[in-house]
């Protein structure tokens, strides 16, 4: 039964396999080019497992030790995850012990895959969802390991490799833009942040941006799309 669920889950994860391998490699190279052993890239991908946060983390690891700032920045960068779970409350409800891993591994890609994928009939759906989540994370760990090892074996100019994160967000932005007719929330996000960046500067604009976004969204309370009961 488990093997059957695994085999059924794998094809759905192939797009994530490609994306995570490349991003993971970029992350591993970036971290090791900053002087860190590749074991750290692997440990971060096993225990943190948050793509964008790990790129941001490289910046934190190359500056001074700042526990409170680390926590706040993690909260800010991952704040969108606070809302992913809302769509999964019923889906994960009867998953038993696997539920903890499902919550831990709810990354952007796993979230969107779980939202858009229905378990095939005659399968244990809990194992099917579990293997989607597990396969996705294993691609991310594998990519980080490859990148970290490449980065430590060869010295080459990795300047600009962090653009992979910018490109990822631009791609997600386009996908969201095309899947939806109400572009107001996306535009609020861009322009509120831009305004806060100009006013507060590069180091202090994330928290004001979040407040401005929450405020504007609350004032303009209009759903982005019809709620999808499957998700």
């Amino acid at each position: 039964m488990k093997l059957k669920a695994f085999k059924a889950a794998f094809p759905y994860t192939i797009p994530v396999l490609m994306g995570y391998l490349f991003l993971g490699i970029a992350f591993g190279i970036l971290l090791s080019s900053n002087g860190y052993h590749y074991i750290w890239a692997i440990l971060m991908s096993v225990f943190i497992y948050a793509g964008s946060m790990q790129f941001v983390a490289v910046g934190l690891l190359t500056s001074i030790f700042d526990p409170l700032g680390t926590m706040l920045l993690t909260l800010m960068v991952n704040a969108r995850h606070l809302f992913y779970g809302l769509s999964m409350i019923t889906k994960f409800n009867d998953m038993g012990i696997k539920k903890f891993y499902m919550i831990f591994s709810l990354s952007d890609e796993t979230y969107s895959l779980l939202c858009s994928t229905k378990s095939p009939k005659n399968l244990d759906k809990n194992w099917f969802y579990f293997f989607i989540a597990l396969l996705n994370q294993s691609y991310w760990i594998l990519g980080s390991a490859i990148g970290g090892i490449i980065g430590s074996l060869f010295t080459f100019n990795s300047k600009g490799v962090d653009f992979a994160m910018t490109a990822l967000f631009v791609v997600i932005f386009i996908n969201q833009w095309q899947s939806n007719t109400n572009h107001t929330p996306a535009l609020i996000g861009v322009f509120a942040s831009l305004l806060c960046l100009i006013i507060f500067g590069a180091n202090n604009f994330i928290i004001p941006s979040m407040i401005a976004i929450l405020f504007t969204l609350t004032v303009k309370n209009k759903p982005a799309k019809e709620r999808d009961p499957q998700c």
């Binding site: 797009p15 490609m18 994306g19 860190y36 440990l43 971060m44 225990f47 943190i48 948050a50 690891l61 030790f65 526990p67 680390t70 926590m71 993690t74 909260l75 960068v77 991952n78 704040a79 969108r80 995850h81 809302f83 992913y84 779970g85 809302l86 769509s87 999964m88 019923t90 994960f92 409800n93 919550i103 100019n157 300047k159 600009g160 490799v161 653009f163 992979a164 910018t166 490109a167 631009v170 791609v171 932005f173 386009i174 969201q176 095309q178 929330p185 609020i188 996000g189 861009v190 509120a192 942040s193 590069a202 604009f205 994330i206 941006s209 976004i213 969204l217 759903p223 982005a224 709620r227």
Partner: protein, 110 residues
């Protein structure tokens, strides 16, 4: 560079905070209770706004007033937009955009 113990503490903070952000909705809104409409609304719209914010976050250190005026970012982002709208291939968009950007900042806009 951080010392190993500071590095481990930083990683633990990032790991627990990330898990916390993913766990919160399951604590606040158990499946046997109804989730408030306002929260469902935020759950719908916030992901769109946050991605917009993260793009700005990625671009926060560009200086438009000094060379190269953010040209590397602008060209590479335009490339990603055009290729992604055209081909709809995530890997091609991200991989191509990153390689183009690395080429630009290493050879032209140094």
């Amino acid at each position: 560079m951080l010392t190993n113990s500071n590095l481990i503490i930083t990683i633990i903070i990032m790991a627990t905070t990330t898990f916390f952000t993913r766990l919160v909705p399951f604590i606040i809104f158990p499946s046997n209770k109804e989730t408030p409409k306002y929260i469902l609304y935020l759950g719908d719209v916030l992901p769109y706004s946050i991605i917009g914010m993260l793009i700005i976050y990625c671009l926060k250190n560009i200086s438009l007033l000094t060379f190269p005026y953010g040209m590397g970012e602008i060209i590479a982002i335009l490339f990603v937009i055009i290729v992604h709208v055209w081909k709809k291939n995530t890997l091609l968009s991200i991989c191509g955009g990153t390689i183009l950007y690395m080429f630009l900042v290493q050879t032209i806009f140094i």
